[in-house]
C-alpha cells in the first residue's frame, strides 16, 4: 500500500490504462494470435501456423480480392495525396492571408465533416443517380443528353466516385490543420519577406511550406492510414461485395467481408475459418500501415537530428 501511496500517478493512470489496454492494445496482439489458427469464432480453434497467410497469398480467389482491394486503397491514397492535399494547402494559404469572405469559406468547406457518411453517399446519389441525379439533368440542359450515364453503376468509375465523396467530406480537416500550423509561423519572418519584395506565392513556397512541413508529413501519414482503413463509403455504396466487379472494394471492406460478411463467393473453406482468415487480413493491413509509419518516423527523426 505504501508503495502505491508513494506513487500517486499510478492511481491516476490505472483506470485509463485498463480500458485502453483491453480494447485498443490487446486486440492487436490477440488478432496476431488468432491469425495462426483455423477458427470460425465459436467452435474449436486449431493451430495451423502460417497456413492462413500462405492461403491468403496463394488461393487465387482470395489473392485476387486482396490485390484488387489493395489497388483501390492505394489509388485512394494517391488521389488524396496528389490532389486533395495540395488543394488543402492552397485553400489554407488563401484563408491564412485573409482573403475576403474567409470566415464563410472556412465554415462552408469544413461543414461536410459534420455530415455522417451515409448522408454523404445519399447526397452523392442525388447528384450522380441515373434517373433522379442532378448531374444527368445538367448534361441534358446543356445539350449533352447523350453523355448521361448511371454514374454510380459504372464499375470503371467506382473508386473515383468513392474518392469524390471522400474528398468533399474530408477536405476541410486537413485545411484547418494546415491553417492552424500556418498561424504559428512568426509574423516577423512573413513581414520581412514581404518587405523584401517576395511575391505572394514566393512567400508560400520559400517560407510557409518549409515551416509547416512536419504538419504536411503528418497529414500524409494520416491520409495513408485513412486510405488503408476506410470502410464506410465503400460499404454503403457497394454493399458487402464491394460493388459491381468489386469496383469500390478496399482493404477494410475485404477484411470485413471475410470476417463478418457472407463468404459464399469464396467457396467452402472460408465460413469455417472466418475469424482465422479475417485476423490474418487484419494483420497484413497492420503490417502495411506499420512499415510506412516506421519509415515516416525514421525520416522525421533524421531530419530533426540534422
Amino acid at each position: 500500500m505504501t508503495w502505491m501511496r508513494k506513487r500517486p500517478f499510478l492511481w491516476f493512470i490505472l483506470p485509463g490504462f485498463v480500458l485502453y489496454t483491453l480494447f485498443s492494445v490487446y486486440p492487436i496482439f490477440s488478432a496476431l494470435q488468432i491469425s495462426f489458427n483455423r477458427w470460425d469464432g465459436i467452435g474449436e480453434k486449431t493451430f495451423v501456423g502460417f497456413d492462413n497467410y500462405i492461403e491468403l497469398f496463394t488461393n487465387k480467389e482470395l489473392f485476387g480480392q486482396l490485390t484488387g482491394a489493395f489497388r483501390n486503397s492505394v489509388t485512394l491514397f494517391l488521389l488524396n495525396a496528389l490532389a486533395v492535399l495540395p488543394a488543402q494547402l492552397y485553400m489554407a494559404y488563401l484563408l491564412y492571408s485573409g482573403i475576403r469572405g474567409h470566415r464563410f469559406f472556412q465554415a462552408m468547406i469544413f461543414s461536410p465533416q459534420f455530415i455522417a457518411t451515409p448522408v454523404i453517399v445519399f447526397m452523392g446519389t442525388l447528384i450522380f443517380d441515373g434517373n433522379i441525379g442532378v448531374f444527368n439533368k445538367l448534361l441534358e440542359t446543356v445539350g449533352l443528353g447523350s453523355w448521361t450515364r448511371p454514374w454510380l453503376g459504372l464499375p470503371e468509375l467506382g473508386i473515383f466516385v468513392v474518392w469524390m465523396m471522400v474528398a468533399w467530406s474530408g477536405i476541410g480537416v486537413g485545411m484547418i490543420f494546415f491553417l492552424g500550423a500556418m498561424k504559428m509561423i512568426s509574423h516577423e519572418v512573413m513581414e520581412a519577406a514581404y518587405l523584401e519584395g517576395a511575391s505572394y506565392w514566393r512567400r508560400f513556397f520559400s517560407i510557409v511550406l518549409p515551416q509547416i512541413k512536419t504538419t504536411v508529413l503528418n497529414m500524409l501519414i494520416l491520409t495513408y492510414i485513412f486510405a488503408m482503413t476506410m470502410f464506410d463509403f465503400s460499404f454503403i455504396l457497394g454493399g458487402v461485395a464491394g460493388g459491381i466487379n468489386r469496383s469500390v472494394d478496399v482493404m477494410a471492406l475485404f477484411f470485413y467481408r471475410i470476417a463478418f460478411g457472407d463468404n459464399s463467393a469464396v467457396g467452402g473453406t472460408m465460413n469455417v475459418n472466418a475469424m482465422g482468415m479475417g485476423t490474418t487480413i487484419a494483420c497484413v493491413m497492420f503490417a502495411v500501415i506499420f512499415i510506412v509509419a516506421l519509415i515516416q518516423v525514421v525520416l522525421t527523426y533524421r531530419r530533426t537530428e540534422d
Partner: protein
Amino acid sequence: MNLRPKQTYVSSTILWVYSSFTLFLLSYMTYQAFRSKKELLSNTFGLPETFNFANFKKLFVEADFLRYFANSTWILVATLVIVILLSSTVAYGIGRYQFRFKSVVLLYFLIGLMFPVQLGIVPIFLLIRDLGLLNSQWGVVLVLASGISLPVFLLTTFFEKLPKDLYESAKIDGAGEWTTFIRVMFPLASPVIYSICIIMSVQIWNQFFVPLIMLQSDSNRTIPLMIMKFSNNLMYNLDLAMAGSVMATVPILILFFIFSGKVLEGMASGGVKG
C-alpha cells in the same frame, strides 16, 4: 501588413464556386425533403405540387426517428464522459509526476493513434461477445471510449507545460492529490477539454463501423445506420431517406455555423501539435 495576394479574382472565384456547391447540395436536399415520394421519383426537377412536412411526420411517427436519436445521443454522452474522465486522469498522472519510464508510458498511450479500431475489431468483437455486451450500447461505448490516445496526448502536453509552482502551492494548502486534481487542475484544463469534446463528438456521432458490428437489432441502432437502412432501398424509402438525412444534418450544421469560429479553433488545436 498586407498579406493578401494582389490578384485574388481567380482564387476567390474558386472558393466561391466550391462553397456555393456545398451550400447548393444542402439546400437542394432540404428542399426535396418537403416533396412527396411519388413526385420525387417521377418529377424530380419539376415544380413542386405538394410541399409540406409529410415526410418528416412519417419519419417521426412511423420510422421512430426519436429512438435512433436517443440511441445516438446516449452513446455520445456516455462515451464522451468516460473519455474525458479517463484521459484527463491519465494525462495528469503522466504530465504532473516524475517517474521512471515516463516517456515509455506516454508512448504506450500514443500507439493507438497509429492503429484504427478496424484492425482489432475481430478480438474486440469476441471480447464484447464474451462480456455479454453484444447488441448493447454499452459495448459500443466501451470500445469507442477506449480510444483515448489523442485526448491523452493533448492533455499531457497541457499539464506538462503548467508551472510547477501551481502544483506546489496547491500542496502547501494541504489539498490531497485528488482534491488538487478535481478542484484546481481539471478546471484549468477546460479549454483543452472543450477542444477534445468537439473533436471526439464529431467522430462518435458519425461513427459507422463499430455500431454496425456491435448493434445487431434495429431498435438499438444509431442515426447513421438508420439513414443507411433507408437509402439502401431508395425506390421504397426515398422520402424517409430524404427527411432523415435532413434531420441528421441540418440542425448540426446550423449549430456549427453559429459557433464556427470557436469550433474550428478547437479542431485546429488537435492537429497543430500532432
